[in-house]
Every structure is written in structure tokens, then in C-alpha cells.
Amino acid sequence: MKAFSYQRPETAEHAAAAAVRPGAKLIAGGTNLLDLMKLQVETPSRLVDINGLSLEKIEDTADGGLRIGTLVRNSDLAADRRVRQRYGVLSRALLAGASAQLRNKATTGGNLLQRTRCYYFYDVTKPCNKRSPGSGCAALAGFNRIHAILGGSEHCIATHPSDMAVAMRALDARVETVDSAGQTRSIPIEELHRLPGKTPEIETSLKPGEIITSVTLPPPPPGVQVYRKVRDRASYAFALVSVAAIVDSIHGRIRSARLAFGGLAPKPWRSPRAEQTLVNASANATTFNATADAVLEGARGFGGNDFKIPLARRTLHSVLSEMTRA
């Protein structure tokens, strides 16, 4: 691990002012950052510990939603009575991620900002455009079983590893931030994560030093909520394919649906066209095939991850038929 100075500011503004300095990195739970620092994938020279900020509350909002402080631990968010009752897809997605020990440490903001688990990103002896811009992408022709089939580019096919973010994407969450000048803003979650394009090293739309202070959930949409995760082992593994689904249906007729996918793309993936195929549609195999076709439009395998295309299709079929069973 490279040497760093350590500081623990007490306000978000102070933290943002410290975080904007060269070589600075914020730390909250630290479960991903310290892992990467040990491997020298991350080499901050200043560590700004934000655990002293008072951002660990879950509050009701006036419109019937919830505001989740950035320091709320994944385990506490999953166990919150309101989340369990009204946002089951979020609770289940959180519980599908990592282990109990890690969830006790990992935070809401940190979960959103965690880095990919691409093997080549982690291996500093290999080319990686995300870690070392311009060095190439070893995954394109390498072991790419866990990599993206949607949204990647010739520069990077790494996936975003979060389960929580996939559920938040389906729930149309918004991410609130503050910067070093004290300016706040609210970012729709679909605009937080960026596709790699030519600059896979730029993963989010946050400006240098901009700190996530909370995530706001609008009131839950009508319908049943499900999070289904398919992975190599029954627990404690990243998603090969995951689906966060919110489906409003009655007697085999779907009124509306929201679908977000994990494991397939560099960001939590949603397809408005796929959701449109379900509006006022009969819940049957023909409909679900059309939905899967729309989700997987433009999907491309790189050898090792070819299986994700049929796996995503079958997982979606399974989830939709289970949710609309009369």
C-alpha cells in the first residue's frame, strides 16, 4: 500500500474541499477502496475519511418517498422496515450482494461508486484502459466470462458490480451531491454512471471533489417487486445476470413494468423499449420473447461471455412469468 495522509473532516463541505485536492480519495466503508489500495490499483496520497459526517439517517420525504443518507450501511438499509415493506426489490438486491460482514461496513454512496471486478483492472501487470488510459483492454480477447454484452466499447467491456444500484435504477432514484463550493445538485441515477466509450477511466458524472450526500427514492410505483440474481454459487458472488423487476399486472394482463439489469453492462441497464413491450400486454411467452429481444438489441459476446445472452433471456422469462402468474 502506498503511503497516504489521513484526515477525518466533520462537515460535507470540508470533506469536499479536502477531496478536491490532488491525490485525494474519499473513504467510507473502505471495503472496495482498501482492497484496491493493497493491490496498488488505487494509490491515493490523501485519504479523506467521511465517517464523521452526519449522513447516516433514512428519512421519509414529503412526497412519500425515502431519503437515504450516504453513510447508511448496506445491512441497515436492507433491514429498514420501510424499505422492506415498500421497496422490497432494494432490500433483496442489497441482501444479494457481498457477505454480512461487508454489508455491515459498506455504505450507500460507496456501493454506487465501487469499481468493476474485471480481473484485468485488478491486475496491475496487465493492460487496462480504465486503470491506465491508453494501455489497451486485455479482456476483449482474454478471459471475459464476467464481462459486458451491452454498453461496452472497443476500449472497455467491464461491468458495474453493484446489485443495489440495479434496484435503485428500477426505482428511479436520484443521487444528491455537494461540491467544494457548497453547491448541491440532484442527479437522476441513470445519469450517475457513464458508459466507457473512449474514456473508460471516467465512470461517473461527478465532478472532482463532488460528494454523494444521499440517495432519494420516489414513492414506490404500483406492482410487485422482485430481484433475481444468477451467479456461480448460491451466495457471496457477483451477478452474471441480475434483474430488478417491478411489474403491475392483473389476471395475466400487464399494465406497466420496469426492468433493470445487472451483470450485463458497464452500468445498471434499462431499456425503455423493452418496458414498452409490456405495457397493456398479455403475460405470455410471445410477449416475453419480444421484451427479451428489445433488452438484448445490440448485445454482443466476446467468447467467454456469450452465454450471458441466452442466460439473460431465460432469467427474464422466468422472472416475468413468475410475477404475472394469475
Binding site: M1, T31, D35
Partner: protein, 224 residues
């Protein structure tokens, strides 16, 4: 390096008792890196000529006793326990949060001590496996692991035991797991599937899982 309360237990007052193991470790380290503090060695790959950052003062209440340490800011909680306080019950398995052998309780909650910095826990209470028994009386989770043979080589055991204590507390609070069918239910029934899911952060390479589950059921007062 460390100051302790005057009320420290007798065996807590000599945390640097020299064993064959520490002699071997110290000897090896001295041969390779005679000028380097052991903690920096444990912190990962080194950078030639880079000066160490200024030491940071960290106070931790470990198993009821207050310890004041001056540490390199890179020191993980696990390395602080093992290398600075000779509390070697918490094990370093993968050092990347994947195996659970380093599990300890912070303010009663289980975490991986390898994936956190000691300085981030300044002023907090840590419980390690060394703090569970009362003299010769084992903690009921320890006794259950012995009774059900919940281990073979034993390397993961201290992590399994600390994790079990945290897990049983979470269950008593009604916290759900991925396999909890109805997320809105208030009380958790610790079935085998629930125990296995909740303990998935602790790997046992000897695969003593059936006996670990049996031990946990006994400790949790669950009829088998």
C-alpha cells in the same frame, strides 16, 4: 507503542511475550528489511525510498481493555491486532475480505478486520475471539463448536465464531437475509438455509459446514 489501563488482566499486560513463532517472523523480517517497521511490511508492497507517513494515534477498546497505539496510517485493524498487540486469534486468510477468517465485532457488529484501517476505528470497541471466554468458561458459541466438532484445521474457526455471535445478534433484531421468503416478517426462523446464507462470508476449506451449522443451531437455541 501501547499503553494500557492499570486494570488490565494479567495476560493482557504482556502482549509481547516472545514465542517461537514471533522469533521466526521477526528474524525473517530483520534479515530482509532491517530498517523497516513490521507494520509497513504487513501493509503490502513497498515503494523504494518513500518515507513513511507520520504515525497516527489510535485508541481502541479491545475486549474491554483500552489500548493506545501509534500506527502507520496504512495499518489495517487486523494488522494492529496481530502485529502490534499480539492478538493472533483473528486470522489473516485472504487479506481481501473474501474468506472471513479475520472477522471481529466492532460495537457488536461483525466486520472483516482486514478491510478496514485501525485509524478509522479510533475510540471504538472491538471484540476478538480472545475476548469471548470468561477465564476457563468458554462462550456458548465456542463450547458449541467444540461439542459439534465445527472445524478441522481450525484456521477459520475464530472468524466463524465471531461471525456466529454477530449473526445471532442480527437475527434477534429481525434482520432479513437473501433467503428470507417474506421480507416483511418480523421474526427470523434460523433454518439451515438461513444459517448457511447468513454465514456465507466465512469460508471453511476443510468443509466442516454441516458441523458448523449444528454448532450454530445449538448456540442459537434452535431445536434440530
Amino acid at each position: 507503542m501501547d499503553e494500557q489501563d492499570s486494570n488490565a488482566a494479567p495476560d493482557e499486560q504482556h502482549p509481547f511475550e516472545v514465542t517461537r513463532r514471533t522469533v521466526i517472523e521477526t528474524g525473517t523480517t530483520a534479515l530482509i528489511l532491517s530498517a523497516l517497521p513490521h507494520a509497513a511490511f504487513a501493509a503490502g508492497p513497498l515503494d523504494g525510498g518513500e518515507p513513511s507517513p507520520p504515525a497516527v494515534k489510535v485508541q481502541l477498546r479491545i475486549n474491554g481493555y483500552l489500548h493506545s497505539l501509534m500506527l502507520d496510517s496504512r495499518t489495517t485493524l487486523l494488522d494492529a491486532l496481530r502485529e502490534h498487540l499480539a492478538l493472533t486469534g483473528s486470522k489473516k486468510g485472504c487479506d481481501h475480505g473474501q474468506c472471513g477468517a479475520c472477522t471481529v465485532l466492532i460495537e457488536g457488529r461483525r466486520i472483516n478486520s482486514c478491510l478496514t484501517l485501525a485509524v478509522m476505528h479510533d475510540g471504538q470497541s472491538v471484540t476478538t475471539v480472545e475476548g469471548l471466554a470468561l477465564g476457563d468458561d468458554l462462550h456458548l458459541v465456542q463450547a458449541a463448536f467444540v461439542e459439534h466438532d465445527g472445524f478441522q484445521c481450525g484456521y477459520c474457526t475464530s472468524g466463524q465464531i465471531c461471525s456466529t455471535i454477530g449473526m445471532l445478534a442480527e437475527s434477534r433484531l429481525g434482520m432479513p437475509s437473501y433467503v428470507t421468503e417474506d421480507l416483511t416478517q418480523v421474526a427470523v426462523e434460523l433454518t439451515d438455509a438461513e444459517i448457511r446464507e447468513r454465514m456465507s462470508g466465512n469460508i471453511c476449506r476443510c468443509a466442516a459446514y454441516p458441523n458448523i451449522v449444528a454448532a450454530i443451531k445449538q448456540a442459537g437455541g434452535i431445536s434440530t
